[in-house]
C-alpha cells in the first residue's frame, strides 16, 4: 500500500465491436479516496469504459494498472477479486433472495461445508450498520424500495473489500431524499480511502459529490479536470466539443420564445383522476395549440397521469374528456380512436419492435387505416414512410432498415412518426428527448414547437427543467400523485418548479 501509484490507471484503452471503435486511446486515473466522475454524451464510451474496467468486456488494446500492478480482468469475477466492483444502473440483485444472501452471494460463510445462516445474517447486519443503514438482513429484497436495494448493492461491493466502486447512474431512480442518503454513504466510503467512479447525467450531482471529472466524446479521451472551479458551461463545451461562444449565442434548447400565457381553447381535460396511492384527484386542462409541461420527480405520478389519459392503466375514479366530450377509456385503443397519442418514456420496453424495419415500426398504430378487407396496403405504408422520413429528417438507409440499427434519436423520431401519421388531436410526450444525442434533441424540440403551432395539443413530461421552462406555456408540477402547482407566464422558472417539487405537504 505504501507505493505512490494511483489506485487505478488505465492507459490507451481501445475497444472495438465488430469493426466499430467504441473506445480509442482512452486514459483514466483514479486516486484513493477520490470520487471521479465520467461524463459524455450518449455514445461517448462511458459504459464501455466501465465494462472494461470491471471485466465485463475484454479490452482490445491498452494497459490497466491496479495500485501499480498490471491487471487483466477476463470476467467480472476477476475484477471483484481484485477489488473493482460495479453497481449498475438497473440494480442487479436477486429479487426473491434476502438482503444477506444478496450481500454474500458466492462467498457465504460456511461451517462443515454448509452455509452458516446465523453468521451470514449477523455479518450482513454489521456491514449495513457500518454504512449507517438500518435494513433487516433477513428481508426479501423484492419487498424493499429501490433506494434500499441500491444501498444493498453498494454494501455488497463494500463487503467484497472493494478498493474501487463504480456507480453507474446510481440516482436515476432515486428521489431527492434518497439521493441524500447515497451521498452520505459515498462520503463515508471516500473517507475510508475507497475510490469511486461516478457516472451521472445530472450536473448537480457531479458538483455535489465528485472531485474530478473525465470527459469522453465519441469513444475518445477529451480531458480530466478538477470540478472545483470548473464552470458548467465549460464542462458542457468539453462534452459537446464546442467553443464557449457558440453555446452562448443560443438558448440551451431548440424551443422558441415563450408561448403566450393566455388560456387557449380547451382541448383535453381531466377531472379528479384517482388511482390507488399513485394518483389523487388530478385535474388538468390542456388547450389546443398549447404545450402543457409537466414536471415532477420519478414516482410523483407524472407518467401515471399520462397512462391514465391514454387508457393504459385503469383508474379508480375520475374523468377524461376531449373537446368537451367525456371519453370511456378502457384500453389504449379507445384513447387512440379518440385522437390521443402517447410516446412512452421507455423507448426500448414500450416503443420499438427491435427486429422490425423503420416502415413496420412507423405504421404500427396506423394499420387499421391502411387496411382494406384485412390486407395492409404496402403503397400507403410507403407513402407514410417517405413523408415522415423526410419531414422528421430520419437518418436511415431506407424505410426497410431495422430500427434497432438506428441511433436513439432516430428511433425516437420513428416513434413520433408512428403517432403523427395518425393526425392525433392530442399528443402526450413522456420524456421525449431523454437519452438521445444533442442534435436530434434539438430537432425534436423544434418539431414539438411546430406541431403546437399547427394546433395540436401537447402534454410534455420531462425531467429536464430547461426543456420545460423554455418549451411550455404552462407547467403542472406533480408531487406524491397530486398536482402540486401550476405555473404560467412569468411565474415559470426552474426555481419555481424545484420549489414546488420540494415543498412538503
Amino acid at each position: 500500500m505504501a507505493n505512490n501509484e494511483p489506485l487505478l490507471r488505465m492507459q490507451h484503452i481501445r475497444k472495438v465491436f465488430s469493426g466499430v471503435v467504441a473506445l480509442d486511446d482512452v486514459n483514466f486515473t483514479l486516486e484513493r479516496g477520490e470520487v471521479h466522475s465520467l461524463v459524455g454524451e450518449n455514445g461517448a464510451g462511458k459504459s464501455t469504459l466501465i465494462k472494461v474496467m470491471t471485466g465485463a468486456y475484454n479490452r482490445d488494446g491498452g494497459e490497466m494498472f491496479l495500485e501499480g500492478v498490471p491487471v487483466n480482468f477476463r470476467a467480472p469475477e476477476d475484477a471483484q477479486h481484485a477489488g473493482v466492483v460495479a453497481v449498475y444502473q438497473e440494480v442487479n440483485l436477486l429479487m426473491f433472495r434476502t438482503v444477506a444472501e444478496n450481500i454474500f452471494l458466492g462467498r457465504e460463510p460456511r461451517r462443515f461445508g454448509l452455509i452458516d445462516w446465523s453468521k451470514m445474517n449477523r455479518e450482513a447486519g454489521e456491514i449495513l450498520r457500518n454504512l449507517g443503514l438500518q435494513i433487516d438482513p433477513k428481508a426479501v429484497l423484492g419487498s424493499l424500495n429501490i433506494a434500499s436495494r441500491q444501498m444493498i448493492a453498494i454494501a455488497r461491493g463494500v463487503s467484497l473489500g472493494a478498493k474501487i466502486l463504480v456507480l453507474d447512474e446510481p440516482t436515476s431512480s432515486l428521489t431527492e431524499r434518497e439521493v441524500g442518503l447515497l451521498y452520505d454513504v459515498i462520503r463515508r466510503l471516500k473517507a475510508q480511502g475507497t475510490g469511486i467512479v461516478y457516472i451521472s447525467h445530472r450536473f448537480d450531482e457531479l458538483y455535489a459529490v465528485c472531485d474530478k471529472v473525465t470527459v469522453l466524446r465519441d469513444g475518445k479521451y477529451i480531458a480530466t479536470r478538477p470540478l472545483a472551479g470548473l464552470e458548467r458551461i465549460d464542462l458542457i463545451c468539453l462534452m459537446l466539443g464546442k467553443q464557449r461562444e457558440d453555446l452562448e449565442k443560443k438558448g440551451a434548447t431548440a424551443f422558441g420564445e415563450h408561448h403566450e400565457a393566455q388560456m387557449p381553447e380547451p382541448l383535453l381535460e381531466t377531472e379528479n383522476l384517482t388511482r390507488g396511492r399513485r394518483l389523487k384527484n388530478v385535474s388538468i386542462k390542456a388547450g389546443r395549440g398549447e404545450i402543457l409541461g409537466m414536471a415532477g420527480l420519478l414516482g410523483s405520478g407524472r407518467t401515471e397521469v399520462a397512462r391514465a389519459v391514454f387508457g393504459a392503466d385503469e383508474v379508480d375514479a375520475g374523468k377524461v374528456s376531449l373537446e368537451g366530450k367525456p371519453l370511456n377509456l378502457r384500453s389504449p385503443s379507445d384513447a387512440i380512436r379518440a385522437g390521443i397519442a402517447f410516446l412512452s418514456e421507455d423507448r426500448k420496453a414500450e416503443g420499438i419492435i427491435p427486429e422490425w424495419s423503420v416502415r413496420e415500426n412507423m405504421t404500427l398504430a396506423a394499420l387499421p387505416a391502411l387496411t382494406s378487407l384485412g390486407v395492409v396496403s404496402r403503397a400507403k405504408q410507403n407513402e407514410i414512410v417517405d413523408k415522415f422520413m423526410r419531414r422528421l429528417g430520419i437518418k436511415a438507409s431506407s424505410g426497410e432498415q431495422k430500427i434497432r440499427e438506428l441511433s436513439g434519436g432516430n428511433q425516437q423520431k420513428v416513434l413520433l412518426a408512428r403517432w403523427l401519421c395518425k393526425n392525433p388531436k392530442f399528443l402526450i410526450l413522456d420524456e421525449p428527448t431523454r437519452g438521445i444525442d444533442i442534435g436530434a434533441k434539438g430537432e425534436i424540440q423544434s418539431l414539438i414547437n411546430e406541431l403546437a403551432d399547427e394546433g395540436l395539443g401537447v402534454l410534455m413530461i420531462s425531467s429536464e427543467l430547461e426543456e420545460l421552462v423554455e418549451g411550455s406555456s404552462r407547467i403542472v408540477v406533480m408531487r406524491d400523485g397530486e398536482c402540486a402547482a401550476e405555473l404560467r407566464g412569468k411565474d415559470i422558472s426552474q426555481d419555481a418548479i424545484i420549489n414546488a417539487m420540494a415543498e412538503t405537504n
Binding site: 450518449n42 455514445g43 444502473q89 412512452s344 419492435i353 424495419s357 384485412g374 438506428l406
Partner: protein, 324 residues
C-alpha cells in the same frame, strides 16, 4: 445500454423486409442437400410416387406446424395440438351419422373453441402458455377418449368424408396435399400482408409496444390459439379420413414436438417476434424426408430420431441471435 444502439451502423442495404419473412438459408440449404443426397443414395427416391407419398405423410405435421408458427410468433407455444387432433377425430367419428359436412363442421368448431379457450386462459390470467397448453394436452386426450367411448377405434365408411383423406384431384394430386398447399398459401399471405399477421408479430416482438399502439393483445393471442386449434383439427380430420377410422388414443401423439421442431428449424424464433411460414414448411419437409429416406433404406426409425435431434440443434445453433 444506449450506447449499443447509437453505435454508428454501416448503412446496410440487405436488411429488407423480405429477409424477415424468408426462411433462413441454412434450413433451405439443408433441405436441398438432403434431397440431392437421397436422389443419389436412395433407390426410387426420385420417383413421383415417392414425392407424393412424402407430401401426404407430412400433411398433418405440416398443418399443425403452420398453426404453431403463428403461436410461436406471439412468443407462445401450444402443446395441446395433438390432443386437439384426437378430439376433432373423435367428434367427427361419432357425428358422422349426421353427414360428413356437419360432422366436419362440428369437429372444427369444437377444437377452434378449445384453442380459443387456451388463448383466453393465457391472455386473461397471464399464465405461461406452456403450462396452460400442457394441461389441455393432458385433459384433451382424456376428453377425446371420453367422446370415443374410452378411446376405442371407431371405423367408419363414409365416402364424402374419406374423400378428404384418400382421394386425388385429377388423379395425381392427393386431396390432403391440395388442402395443405392451400393452407400454406393462405398462411403466408395472412402473416405477410394482413393486419392480423402484423399484429401477431408485433405482440411477439414487443407486447407493451403493441398494446400502447392500440393493438388488442388479448384478442390477438386468443385468435392465434384458436387458429392453432383449427389447423390441428383439420390435421386430425385428414389423418382420420385417410385411416378410415378414428383412433382417439393414438392420433397426434407427440405431434406437438414434431411441429415445434419443424417451426424452430425453419427459423421462427421461440422468443417470438420473428416468424416464417416458408421456413416452417422447409423444416417440416426436412423432418419428413429424413424419416422416409431411412425407411426406404431399411434403416430403423430409431436412428432417424438421432439424426433429427442433431439437425434441430445444428440449425438452431446457426440461427441463434448474434451478440458481441
Amino acid at each position: 445500454m444506449a450506447e449499443a444502439i447509437t453505435q454508428p451502423v454501416a448503412a446496410k442495404r440487405g436488411s429488407s423486409s423480405f429477409a424477415d419473412y424468408a426462411p433462413t438459408y441454412g434450413a433451405a440449404a439443408a433441405l436441398v442437400l438432403l434431397i440431392l443426397a437421397n436422389v443419389f443414395l436412395t433407390p426410387n427416391f426420385a420417383a413421383l410416387d415417392n414425392f407424393r407419398n412424402i407430401l401426404v405423410q407430412v400433411t398433418p405435421t405440416m398443418l399443425v406446424a403452420v398453426g404453431m408458427t403463428f403461436v410461436i410468433a406471439t412468443g407462445g407455444i401450444d402443446l395441446s395440438v395433438g390432443s386437439l387432433m384426437a378430439i376433432a377425430s373423435a367428434v367427427a367419428a361419432v357425428s358422422l351419422d349426421y353427414g360428413a359436412y356437419p360432422a366436419i363442421l362440428a369437429a372444427l368448431a369444437v377444437v377452434t373453441l378449445i384453442g380459443a379457450f387456451n388463448g383466453w386462459l393465457i391472455a386473461t390470467f397471464k399464465i405461461q402458455p406452456i403450462i396452460v397448453t400442457l394441461a389441455l394436452l393432458i385433459a384433451g386426450r382424456g376428453v377425446a377418449q371420453v367422446i370415443s367411448n374410452g378411446g376405442q377405434l371407431i371405423p367408419f365408411s363414409n365416402p364424402s368424408f374419406e374423400f378428404w383423406g384418400k382421394d386425388s384431384l385429377f388423379g395425381i394430386l392427393p386431396v390432403p396435399v391440395f388442402v395443405m398447399i392451400v393452407i400454406i398459401g393462405l398462411a403466408i399471405f395472412v402473416l405477410r400482408a394482413t393486419i392480423f399477421g402484423r399484429h401477431v408479430i408485433a405482440v411477439g416482438g414487443n407486447e407493451n409496444a403493441a398494446r400502447l399502439s392500440g393493438i388488442s393483445v388479448n384478442r390477438t393471442k386468443i385468435m392465434v390459439y384458436a387458429l392453432s386449434g383449427l389447423l390441428a383439427g383439420i390435421a386430425g380430420l385428414i389423418y382420420t379420413a385417410r385411416l378410415g377410422a378414428s383412433d382417439a388414443s393414438q392420433v397426434g401423439q407427440t405431434i406437438e414436438l414434431d411441429a415445434i421442431a419443424a417451426t424452430v428449424v425453419g427459423g421462427t424464433a421461440l422468443t417470438g417476434g420473428r416468424a416464417t411460414v416458408i421456413g416452417t414448411v422447409i423444416g417440416a419437409l426436412i423432418m419428413q424426408i429424413i424419416t422416409t429416406s431411412f425407411n426406404m433404406n431399411g434403416i430403423k426409425f430409431s436412428y432417424a430420431l438421432v439424426i433429427k435431434a442433431a439437425i434441430i440443434i445444428f440449425v438452431v445453433y446457426l440461427q441463434r441471435p448474434k451478440s458481441h
